[in-house]
């Protein structure tokens, strides 16, 4: 489904990402792990179109997408979350989900001004879909609150819901468990698995919480200082000497 080939990203003299390759199949959860500053988020930024990679190819469903503008990549069905939650804080929870459905709505201004049947139908559909996802992540009771007033864990869940209403094929989560307590992490764990099982979404995950990564990943890629270090199933990664060295230091 998604294939990253030999991706590299250079910022001036710094080669932040060097020759990283990824391969994500349909209905698969793939994790990217590595020490801080290894270039994981840079890989994400390249994949989601925020950066134009200096080299390499990104193929999404067989088509090259590297260097395309971010909003076009998102419309293809690759949607991401952010390391630091980025919600529209002064808008209500449900409005956050409506903004995400912009391209599913009738954005013709005249249609909106006169409230044509098609416009109303699509608005209603968007509201329904928003309600469905709020229910799914347990935020339905807070639908009309300002998004900025939610607790941190709720904001994280809202961000995932906001991605899901766009009906993505591939979800990119950047440290979704950061700042969550163990109970919340467990919920997140189940949510991600359910996204894969029930909604046929592939997930790429950047995460530091090893128990979460080992639990849900089908495969894991390890990056160290911008270079690919290892890749394989959780079991293989657990026993890989290079990975242990990079994480624990040499004995």
């Amino acid at each position: 489904m998604l294939e990253v080939q030999n991706l590299s990203m250079r910022f001036g003299g710094l080669l932040a990402v060097d020759g990283v390759s990824l391969d994500i199949q349909e209905r698969e959860i793939v994790s990217i792990i590595g020490p801080n500053g290894a270039g994981k988020t840079t890989v994400f930024n390249c994949m989601s179109g925020f950066y134009k990679p200096s080299g390499g190819k990104i193929l999404f469903e067989g088509k090259e997408v590297q260097g395309k503008p971010d909003y076009k990549i998102s419309r293809l069905g690759m949607v991401r979350t952010f390391q630091h939650v980025r919600l529209f804080t002064q808008m209500s929870v449900v409005e956050n989900l409506l903004v995400a459905q912009h391209r599913h709505l009738n954005t013709n201004m005249l249609a909106g001004l006169f409230g044509t049947p098609d416009y109303k139908r699509r608005e209603q559909k968007a509201l329904d879909r928003a309600a469905y996802w709020l229910e799914r992540v347990g935020l339905l009771d807070l639908a009309n609150r300002d998004a900025g007033n939610l607790a941190y864990g709720q904001q994280r869940r809202l961000e995932i819901a906001r991605c899901m209403v766009t009906e993505p094929k591939l979800l990119m989560l950047d440290e979704p468990a950061a700042g969550l307590n163990p109970a919340e992490t467990k919920e997140l764990n189940q949510l991600i698995i359910s996204l894969k099982e029930d909604y046929n979404v592939s997930v790429v995950l950047i995460e530091h919480d090893m128990s979460l990564v080992m639990d849900i990943s089908d495969r894991i890629n390890v990056i160290n200082q911008g270079c690919p270090l290892a890749s394989g199933t959780p079991e293989e990664i657990r026993q890989n000497d290079d990975v242990i060295k990079a994480y624990l230091g040499e004995a």
Binding site: Y71, M91, A131
Partner: protein, 423 residues
């Protein structure tokens, strides 16, 4: 702590002296062909010194003063009551808006001609402020050259009427659309800019338009301006004493009433009122439409908005275009009201005043912006005797607002879309 307070107070008092003494303490007197500098009356100098002392005392004991002020609102019986519910507030706002419109409908029939004229100007400013509110308040793009689109609307009508004899009603959509086109054109180069940089570029654009109008003498008449702009007609009826254009009839003859100059003023006022109401309604509608949500989303967090498939280009351009469209509207009405326009009417100060209205009113809030437009336009007229100090009062009002109500008169209350749970 106390020493620091006194030092600060002394500094403030000296600043007061430095500012006020040269302005108030000296007079320029013309003696023959020479101008001599004379000292002001002793009373003035005493007043200046007293003012400095007052500043010193206030600054030195500021904490205790503000403490006293803090207790004051308790005297207000309404201060402690529960805040109103959001939906109630929104309803109240619609009622107040409707009330203002109804009041405005009867206004011209009870007051003098001068007041109606002034009210028309207020309505023009309301249109401008509502339009700028889209760009600044909703989309969060600081535009300091908004007056350019106003000028485009006004000059479109003036030039078209001069060269092709077009009527007000034809010019209205053309002026607005042309202004919108200019908004689109300005939008393209500034897409990547934000904040300060955007403000500078838009400021430049506003000046370019004004200087162009000033110097393109062959087309625009330069600083001499364009006169003889026709007034609007009502279904081919003119409001002048004599019919100017062939085929038209005059209003007073058709209805068999005596000619009165007031008819024209009132008619223009009503047109402005209808246009202002239409502007307010359309923008209100936009705010709850996908495009309105996209503006706000882009203002709140551009990166998140883009990651969700919103095109920055399309959203920003739509805000600029729609804002400019309504400025074009206002410009056409302005040209028709004045009958004469020149680049003088479209200086940077106009942009600043419109922006001040939006900020004073509360960015994004329609009712606030309307009230602020009324206040900012009418107050200088009421305070004509203090006309020398007009800018001073204006500045002082701005400073006080920023201290006590930085969010504006009526901060924006978003029209939330409610999710009603269906069981």
């Amino acid at each position: 702590m106390a020493a620091k307070n006194y030092r600060h107070a002394l500094f403030c008092a000296i600043v007061t002296l430095i500012i006020s003494f040269p302005i108030l303490g000296f007079n320029l007197e013309a003696k023959g062909i020479n101008i001599t500098l004379t000292g002001a009356k002793t009373s003035t100098i005493i007043a200046v010194v007293l003012a400095a002392v007052a500043v010193f005392v206030f600054q030195a004991y500021r904490d205790s003063f503000t403490g006293l002020l803090g207790k004051l609102p308790k005297l207000n019986p309404l201060a402690d009551r529960e805040p109103m519910e959001q939906t109630k507030k929104a309803k109240l706002e619609s009622w107040i808006l409707t009330g203002i419109v109804v009041l405005a409908l009867f206004w011209p029939f009870v007051v003098s001609r001068g007041s109606v004229d002034l009210a028309t100007l207020v309505l023009i400013y309301i249109m401008l402020a509502l339009g700028l509110n889209v760009v600044v308040g909703l989309a969060g793009l600081l535009d300091l050259g908004y007056v350019a689109f106003y000028a485009v609307g006004a000059y479109t009508f003036a030039l078209l009427s001069q060269y092709t004899g077009i009527s007000f009603w034809m010019a209205l959509p053309i002026g607005a659309l042309l202004a919108a086109l200019f908004g689109l054109m300005l939008g393209f180069p500034v897409l990547r800019l934000r904040g300060d940089y955007l403000a500078i570029v838009t400021l430049g654009f506003g000046e370019i338009i004004r200087i162009l109008l000033n110097n393109w003498t062959t087309l625009t008449g330069g600083p001499n301006g364009i006169g003889g702009i026709p007034e609007p007609t009502l279904f081919g009826m003119e409001f002048g004493r004599r019919v100017k254009e062939e085929g038209n009839t005059s209003f007073h003859e058709t209805f068999g009433i005596a000619y009165s100059g007031e008819h024209k003023v009132i008619f223009l006022y009503l047109i402005a009122l209808v246009l202002a109401v239409i502007t307010a309604l359309i923008i209100r509608r936009f705010m709850r439409m996908p495009v309105g949500r996209a503006w706000e989303a882009l203002r709140e967090d551009e990166i998140a908005a883009r990651s969700l498939g919103l095109s920055r280009t399309a959203v920003k351009l739509s805000a600029f275009t729609i804002g400019a469209f309504f400025a074009g509207f206002a410009g056409t009405v302005f040209a028709s009201k004045q009958g004469f326009i020149s680049p003088e009417s479209f200086v940077f100060l106009e942009s600043a005043i419109i922006l001040a209205i939006v900020v004073l009113g509360g960015m994004g809030s329609q009712l606030g912006v309307i009230l602020a437009a009324i206040a900012v336009t009418i107050l200088p007229e009421l305070a004509r005797e203090f006309s020398e100090y007009r800018m001073l009062i204006f500045g002082a009002a701005m400073v006080l607002m920023m201290i006590w109500r930085p969010q504006g008169l009526l901060p924006m209350r978003r029209i939330h879309i409610k999710l009603n749970r269906q069981e």
